[in-house]
């Protein structure tokens, strides 16, 4: 049946959604689908399967019939486990009853945090390059996204003074995403302390996306909320996707003062109800018994990280040493190609998939993101292919 009322003239899509530019990487999916033998350094998740004892806990929860909703906040048992974890690891005191919320990944946590704190026109200052969700989440929440570039000279750490320069009367919050996707950068304690001072001076909230908190190599991760006076100002977002190789389970959490968690929960209860019950049960097991597996996975990532960084520097793609997450961010400037051209040609000519740096913000131009959460054999083969590619494309 034809719906005659629906004409082409009337635009049904909201302005807000249209304001978000289409994802730059979608077209790579089509190219990928037409090619065989591609090695992908473009992934964004662990190549480990969730450790068996955690999967087994999920299966057991199904066998026992845990198939109903949980509390909107999430299972209290899981919140208690997270509170214990944050206490023992960072000395933080969060009340599991009032200051913790289980979310559908950090993805949902970001959305809730933005919607809970931003009024139309409120500005949030975010460093770039950074995770692709930060800008759309801001826009969807009606906020204004104010980027701060970071540079390789400062190893992609954000400088407090660069943040401060962008503060206006409308600035409501800062967002920090360290260890960083896509650069692998880690902020040191001193750098964070200076950011904390800025937040204090201008009375700002800080959303801290610490999903890669456990994936650091030879350095210590500082939890932003653990800095003096910062717990009250911070919305700490973290989760199980990366540390425990649980991306598909969709479990994350938010920790903040009661009033903020309450506001986030208000949205969550109407839009999501609760995070998946099976995933929450598995997450309890992960926190109780998963430390040994984290250590094993981190040790392996660390080996691959060294191989990749050394490899890029050897083939002429200068690469600073990333200390966190599972990404390297080599410079491709010597090829004279834009990051998008580089990624497309590399995929078509030598069948290696990488993500253009510009995907993560303007200042990511000139770089590509390469993930080392893939087997050493594949990393070595990819390096060989990229070496051939770089030789052919050396700018005059």
């Amino acid at each position: 049946m034809k719906d005659t009322k629906r004409t082409k003239e009337r635009d049904m899509i909201s302005k807000r959604v249209k304001e978000i530019p289409p994802s730059g990487i979608r077209r790579f999916f089509d190219i990928l689908a037409s090619l065989e033998g591609v090695i992908s350094l473009g992934v964004g998740e662990p190549d480990f399967v969730t450790p068996w004892h955690i999967r087994e806990a999920g299966i057991y929860s199904l066998e026992k019939g845990y198939t109903s909703y949980t509390s909107n906040y999430g299972l209290l048992e899981l919140r208690e486990e997270i509170a214990r974890y944050l206490k023992s690891r960072y000395g933080l005191d969060y009340d599991p009853q009032r200051e913790l919320l289980i979310t559908v990944g950090v993805s949902e946590g970001l959305d809730l945090a933005m919607r809970a704190i931003l009024d139309p026109g409120d500005e949030i200052i975010v460093h770039e390059p950074g995770y692709v969700s930060y800008m759309p989440c801001t826009v969807l929440a009606g906020g204004v996204f104010v980027p701060v570039p970071t540079t390789i000279e400062n190893e992609f750490k954000v400088k407090a003074e660069d943040i401060e320069k962008r503060i206006t009367p409308k600035t409501k919050a800062l967002l920090l995403g360290y260890p960083n996707n896509p650069t692998g950068a880690v902020m040191d304690r001193e750098g964070l302390r200076r950011v904390a001072e800025v937040a204090q001076r201008h009375d700002l909230l800080v959303i801290s996306d610490e999903i890669y908190e456990r994936l650091v190599y030879g350095v210590k991760h500082t939890c932003f909320a653990s800095l003096p006076g910062m717990k009250e100002r911070t919305i700490l977002l973290s989760g199980f996707s990366k540390a425990f190789a649980m991306t598909g389970w969709r479990i994350g959490y938010a920790a903040a003062r009661e009033e903020i968690i309450e506001a986030m929960m208000k949205i969550h209860q109407y839009t999501m109800m609760c995070a998946p019950t099976m995933g929450q049960m598995a997450a309890i097991e992960a926190l109780r018994e998963g430390e040994a597996q984290i250590a094993e996975m981190v040790a392996e990532y660390d080996q691959r990280r060294r191989v990749m960084v050394e490899g890029f520097n050897r083939i002429g793609l200068t690469c600073f040493e990333p200390r966190g997450a599972f990404y390297t961010f080599p410079s491709i400037k010597r090829t004279g190609l834009s990051s998008e051209e580089f990624a497309e040609r590399l995929l078509l000519e030598d069948r290696v998939a990488v993500v253009p740096g510009a995907t993560f913000g303007e200042c990511g131009e000139g770089y590509v993101r390469c993930c080392y959460a893939t087997s050493l054999a594949e990393i070595e083969e990819a390096l060989e292919r990229m070496s051939r590619f770089v030789k052919r494309h050396r700018a005059r």
């Binding site: 994802s23 990487i25 790579f28 999916f29 990928l32 591609v38 992908s40 473009g42 992934v43 964004g44 998740e45 190549d47 399967v49 995770y131 692709v132 996707n181 896509p182 040790a299 080996q303 691959r304 060294r306 191989v307 050394e310 998939a353 993500v355 995907t359 993560f360 050493l376």
Partner: protein, 159 residues
Amino acid sequence: MNEIFRIMEEDARKTPQQIATMTGIPLSKVKEAIKQAERNRTILKYKAMVNWDKLGEGQVWALIEVRLVPQRDVGFDAIAERIYRFPEARSVYLMSGTYDLAVLIAGKTMQEIASFVAQKLAPLEGVQGTVTHFLLKRYKEDGEVLEGEERPKRVPIMP
């Protein structure tokens, strides 16, 4: 330093240069550590793990429980040595529990193993009795699953 051997245990074909890159330990140190480990038998040997079933040359394996009479002064060691010197005995372990030695035997046929047990192992002085368990199917060996470990694919490009 143990990291070097953990890497080699997983893949003995990794070169010292690769191991140096993976660990950040200088190449000369890696080479030296390997040489020393070979000398003092920390590394016993390098070999491939072959799935003989795929070559149509599967062997018959059996686990033999052996009960022993301990001997004065030498305990179980002397009799264990008499047993492990047979090339048919591929692994020999002293166990706690209801028997003393676990002996893994490989042979071409069940008969071959049965006759080894009856003629060589059981009559040994000090051997009180044996129970033979034939291996029916290998699912996982030394950490490797033998069949059906196909992994689901990840999304190849994800921001």
